[in-house]
Point group: C2
């Protein structure tokens, strides 16, 4: 039997670490949250990570559980669908789900501050400038470098929430039989900007996630509260065209003018931004097991994913919710909870990891494809007619937080098989409205 | 254009590092070989790594190229096939290839000493007790801890040949866009022993690799020159039965007596060996790219594989041969050679990595399966009738060093499809000799 757990140390005060600290403080634990950076609330730019994120149901539910739902909602701009921009700047809108369903653009920094403030209010002690330099998994000891001084801290439970390049995971990796992979895609990203219209107005529709799909690459834009849009170019590192071929200001201006003409008009600081802002890489990290004695890793530390399903933060927040639910269910018996979390959560994060990689192809290429758009139309109709029986994959992942990721992936695969068959019907473009929708939905039930 | 290369540093003086050092010294480079261990030739046990290995054609060819073929041949015991031991101790022999084809049991330590001696003879300086603690990939600098003292060394080219847990690869992993995975299988292994018969005789057939296949696990034995056999148990860590369930001396004795009765009779020190020798894990490591500026990783450092195809050392030796051939081909233009090696060799080591995992199932389970044995018989006949047109996969990998691993994998897949079809012929067990073998072989040519 495990000894009494009183003191919990979290490494990494990002979004997931701060939310987990709140949950644990509310359960009555003494929580220390260690962060290698300085306090972001005292002003600092955080290079290399995205400025805004899409918060959806799986992220909202835990915020609701800890009572931060309303505060968070004041910080978001709902995006009801994708706004596609073609080569000529013509627009097409694709709703994400049913009326009232939306994903929410939110500032990473703003949300992180909200969570840290709440954590401190609940008695969590946040230790900034603490770089983790070692973990003794047997003795449950953490070492930190604090401004050049080495200190040691102990805890009954240690949780690593220190992101895709987790130091805690790094130490686990040195122990025997720890499975681990990191795979980079061929694309990187660079953040750019569309400034606000006069009086904090928005230069393009603010209630949409804007996409300029261009086959092998794409540009996207998410709105910010001040009227600006954060624009992100997802682009190959090498090849033609690529970051490699856009070397001079002229290269950049030429390329954008030609390929994203309507966006180009809205980006007066394009060439400067392009040269100043870093080009960042995109990695998928998998690891297992996530538990080593009394140390656990959560969020990006155990399962970093690419951003194309908008589920990185959302899945990390869901980790926190599920860990908390297991603590409820097992009366805070951490031995049991750590093992259950490890075993039951793994297939779900593997599922969203794969879905996120697949969705890049959908976003950058298929969203402008006739066949794909027709599939979406038919699936939307199926959902409209049988809302309880046929929910499109995107909606299951984004709006149905009661469906596990792994379940969504499986149902989605079955739906795809059925839709592949439907799409082979003769003259489907013109006859789809006459399909036997009842029969299609019933296939899913077998 | 790359500056002149004169000085090459290798990290890791194991089998692959020592052979590579020989190749490079023969080309006229000044070669330093750094090794974290003490000099094994001065006596030291090397726990946690297998005692003997199966040297086959891909390993013999480079030894021949550097003139060590004859010396190595004096150290080997040829094994012409598998000797299967069933539950009752009954024996079945399956030849590996045609008459005269064999894999060769050789002592890891003995071969390593041969290679180190030859390297030194050619002017290679081996620096023992040098633990690599850092690499500056830009400045081409290596740091070492030498008995507690930190020293720095530079080189024009750095090659990491420091094994599955490579320190050089570890430093590469910290740089951006380095793909990496390490996956452990559910099985571990433990080395045991059958002592020699009187006067260095052999208690079982010395010219075979002995296997006790038992479905989910197996025991194997390879002969040593002194008449003993090194016995290895490949066994799950957990479950029933597993290392976890064999805790006491009695558990071990009981289990072996029941499951490997004929081996049990030959192992007087079984219970002692079992408790003294470590239980080791089995990992597959993949990484890419293998080149960072002027540093390259080879052998297990870039692609550690499980031992079930007997190709770990052989593929590492082949790395050396191919790197040397590229240096020939490109007049020692290292810029070109490093990139070519990186790109062309990767699909081959991925192929043998997958084949090695698959072969575990074959060894521990299928070798005792009727359907499998019939397939082998039909394939042997095909090879006998059409030796140029149909070579079984095992032979391509083991005896045909001119066929790339990736090519062997592809041909093997096609052969499997054809054989799946052949095996569906009615009453195949009794009619196989009447098959239209010419027709079968021709299917492979399309």
């Amino acid at each position: 039997m495990m000894q009494n757990v009183e003191k919990i140390a979290l490494v990494g005060a990002g979004l997931v670490g701060s939310l987990m600290a709140i949950y644990l403080a509310k359960r009555g634990y003494k929580v220390d949250l260690y962060e290698r950076r300085r306090d972001m609330r005292k002003g600092s730019a955080d290079a290399g990570r995205s400025i805004n994120l899409a918060l959806s149901n799986r992220g909202l539910r835990p915020l609701k559980e800890v009572g931060l739902n309303e505060a968070a909602k004041k910080m978001v701009i709902p995006m009801q669908g994708r706004m596609m921009h073609d080569h000529k700047g013509s627009l097409t809108f694709q709703p994400y789900g049913r009326l009232g369903q939306a994903i929410n653009s939110i500032s990473r920094g703003g949300l992180n501050e909200l969570l840290m403030n709440e954590a401190e209010k609940l008695g969590v002690k946040i230790h900034f400038d603490h770089l983790c330099t070692g973990i003794d998994f047997e003795k449950n000891l953490l070492s930190f470098d604090v401004n050049g001084k080495e200190i040691e801290q102990s805890a009954d439970i240690i949780i690593g929430s220190d992101g895709a390049f987790s130091v805690v995971r790094g130490f686990m990796q040195r122990t025997d039989r720890f499975n681990f992979s990191q795979y980079y895609i061929e694309h990187g990203y660079k953040e750019l900007s569309i400034p606000p219209a006069p009086n904090n107005g928005f230069k393009i529709d603010k209630n949409a996630l804007h996409i300029w799909p261009r086959g092998n690459y794409m540009l996207i834009a998410l709105p910010n509260l001040d009227g600006s849009f954060t624009v992100t170019l997802f682009f190959p590192f090498n090849g033609q065209p690529s970051f490699d071929t856009l070397q001079t200001r002229d290269d950049v201006e030429q390329f954008f003018k030609e390929v994203f003409p309507d966006a180009y008009e809205l980006m007066p600081t394009l060439a400067d931004d392009f040269q100043t802002n870093p080009t960042s890489s995109l990695v998928t990290v998998k690891s297992y097991p996530w538990v080593k004695n009394k140390t656990l890793i959560i969020g990006d530390a155990s399962h970093a994913i690419v951003p194309f399903y908008g589920q990185g933060m959302n899945s990390g927040f869901e980790d926190c919710r599920i860990l908390n639910a297991l603590l409820d269910q097992h009366q805070d018996n951490w031995d049991v909870v750590l093992q259950k979390f490890n075993e039951t959560r793994k297939p779900d994060v593997d599922a969203i990891s794969d879905l996120a990689l697949q969705n890049f192809i959908e976003m950058r290429d298929l969203v402008a494809d006739e066949d794909f758009l027709l599939r979406k139309k038919i699936e939307a109709r199926l959902h409209e007619l049988y809302p309880e029986k046929w929910t499109p994959l995107y909606s299951m992942v984004t709006f149905n937080e009661d469906i596990r990721y792994s379940e969504a992936l499986n149902i989605g695969r079955r739906q795809k098989e059925i839709m592949d068959e439907v799409m082979r019907s003769p003259d489907i473009e013109n006859t789809w409205e006459e399909l036997d929708f009842k029969n299609i939905v019933e296939k899913l039930e077998v």
